[in-house]
């Protein structure tokens, strides 16, 4: 899972569409290679692309499991992969059981966490995207927002939890509120950057055609900013999924974070490892879904 965590780290703050020249250069390189092969009859033999593409990640995962087995073999309390696999088979045989509020299947726990992330993130999008638009459009507001964002962005979202508990007097809304706070900044910042990055050419088109404000927004601003917004969404959800686990450890209730803490109290280490994999896989699926969404809205 270390590899996955690393990948999250390197997501750029903003992604610009690939330069058209890059595509042209790639095509040219292919053409040159084809001509070379045709004229010399020489052809590099290589394993098929798909095989290599499959082999590398499989090798990486195998290495991870091997290291884990090695560490487990040294003794201590870390269970080995086979024990964990058996425990996982049992847990995932019935993920949606419910025996009272403190004993529910892992499926319910994951769904509850996703629900909190969804609500908190959704509210952050409703507030952050419009705010990002006005901050990107008006320099004065950007100047006003800059110190606030600079001051509050580096604060760990969990530091907001006591305020949430104080205001809402309940654990669940406090956790949602923490997700709201941590999702807010990437949405605002990326949307604002997107608005500022709109090429002057597009705005000149709007000016020479004298387009109405509504047309400018729907036909130029919004589509131009959309890829940046989706980057903001990806970053926000990534952070939210990191934070929800910690928040739930503190607030309790039903949720994957609380489940981890509960299993720690029960000293069921194999369940904690299962939870780590589950959190990783759910995060990966959400991330990939958003990457697909981003691809749908990128303009080559």
């Amino acid at each position: 899972m270390a590899a996955l965590a690393l990948r999250k780290e390197v997501i750029p703050i903003r992604t610009s569409p690939p330069h058209p020249a890059a595509k042209v250069l790639g095509e040219r390189a292919d053409a040159v290679r084809a001509r070379f092969e045709a004229s010399t009859g020489y052809r590099r033999t290589r394993a098929p692309e798909w095989l290599l593409a499959l082999l590398a990640p499989v090798a990486g995962l195998a290495l991870l499991v091997a290291l884990w087995a090695l560490i487990a073999k040294q003794g201590g309390r870390i269970p080995d992969p086979i024990t964990v696999a058996h425990a996982a088979a049992k847990i995932f045989a019935d993920p949606f059981y419910s025996k009272g509020p403190n004993d529910q299947g892992i499926g319910w726990n994951v769904l509850m966490s996703l629900k909190r992330v969804g609500i908190g993130f959704g509210m952050a999008a409703l507030v952050g995207i419009p705010l990002g638009f006005v901050i990107g459009r008006f320099r004065f507001l950007a100047g006003m927002a800059a110190p606030i964002i600079a001051l509050l962005k580096p604060v760990s979202p969990l530091a907001w939890l006591p305020i949430g508990l104080l205001v809402f007097k309940a654990a669940n809304p406090a956790a949602i509120y923490v997700i709201f706070v941590c999702s807010l900044w990437p949405m605002i910042v990326n949307t604002a950057v997107g608005v500022r990055q709109i090429p002057q050419d597009y705005l000149n088109v709007a000016r020479v055609l004298n387009l109405s404000e509504w047309k400018v927004f729907t036909k130029i601003l919004f589509p131009a900013v959309l890829p940046y917004m989706i980057t903001g969404v990806r970053l926000s959800i990534g952070v939210a999924w990191l934070v929800i686990v910690a928040a739930e450890m503190l607030t309790g209730g039903v949720g994957i974070g609380f489940w981890v803490w509960d299993e720690w109290n029960n000293l069921k280490v194999e369940h904690i490892i299962i939870a780590i994999f589950t959190i990783g896989i759910v995060g990966l699926v959400v991330e990939q879904a958003l990457v697909l969404l981003a691809r749908r809205f990128s303009y080559a």
Binding site: D201, N204, V205, V208, L209, L211, A224
Partner: protein, 271 residues
């Protein structure tokens, strides 16, 4: 001569951190209805600035610009602008890019008008393609279609073929001549290509080097239309006109490197 587009004592000064920069000064130019005029000069001579003043994207610091006796104050759909880098919106198809302009100006027959103008530039087959799916030349055709679609009083072209390869450029020049003939459009075009200027224009306006650039000379191109590229290549009048523009650009105006290589220093080096 009736002045259709009239540029009167126009000057443009930009405020920069290093003080005022006089880009243009004392520009006087009158263009008849249906006339094709090109602006030619070395890079940095302010020819694009002049075009942007007519487009209304910039405001003159001195003088006025009148189009059909109306004062130009900001951009408007009575002028169609074709940008050098086509400036098509990548998330709209060719049709939608043109339609955006059409619906701004016309209330009726919007689709028919869009189809018609795309047919005029020979792009009916690519209407539903996105800009990244078509070639540079085709993109520029869409740009021209978008500018023509609003039936502007004057068509403003800012080095429209500058980014194209020579063969595509030649094809598009021929296309532009055909379109202008068919529509009777009044055209003001910026170029730095001498052949292009002489081939297309009724008059070539030659600009002096900046800063404080102005009109150095105006050349009447009295070649009969329609003009055929191949026939003109050996035409003595065409050659003379071409030579006259080259003479102006390379003998009377130094080659635009004065700011890197001051004339005084260059003179010293030559000695």
């Amino acid at each position: 001569m009736h002045k259709y587009l009239s540029i009167e004592s126009v000057g443009k000064t930009f405020e920069t951190k290093k003080g005022d920069f006089v880009a243009l000064t004392g520009i006087e130019l009158a263009i008849r209805k249906g006339e094709f005029v090109t602006l030619i000069g070395h890079s940095g001579c302010g020819k694009s600035t002049l075009l942007n003043l007519v487009a209304g994207l910039l405001k003159p610091t001195e003088g006025t610009i009148l189009l059909a006796d109306k004062h130009i104050d900001g951009p408007g759909p009575d002028r169609g602008v074709v940008f050098q880098n086509h400036s098509l919106l990548p998330w709209l198809t060719c049709f939608e890019n043109v339609y955006l302009a059409v619906e701004r100006v016309f209330a009726k027959d919007r689709k028919e008008r869009t189809h018609a103008v795309l047919e005029l530039v020979g792009l009916s087959h690519a209407e539903h393609k996105y800009p990244h799916e078509i070639s540079g030349g085709m993109k520029q055709r869409v740009g021209i279609a978008r500018a023509l679609a609003i039936e502007p009083k004057v068509l403003l072209l800012d080095e429209p073929f500058g980014a194209l390869d020579a063969l595509t450029r030649a094809t598009l020049q021929d296309e532009l001549m055909r379109i202008v003939e068919k529509t009777g459009a009044t055209v003001l075009m910026v170029t730095h290509d001498v052949d292009e200027a002489v081939l297309l224009s009724d008059r070539v306006v030659m600009m002096t080097n900046g800063p404080a650039a102005t009109i150095g000379d105006v050349l009447d191109v009295q070649l009969p239309r329609p003009r055929a590229r191949l026939a003109l290549a050996h035409d003595a009048r065409f050659m003379d006109l071409r030579a006259a523009v080259l003479e102006f650009l390379y003998a009377k105006q130094t080659s635009g490197t004065d700011h890197v290589f001051p004339a005084a220093r260059r003179a010293a080096l030559v000695q």
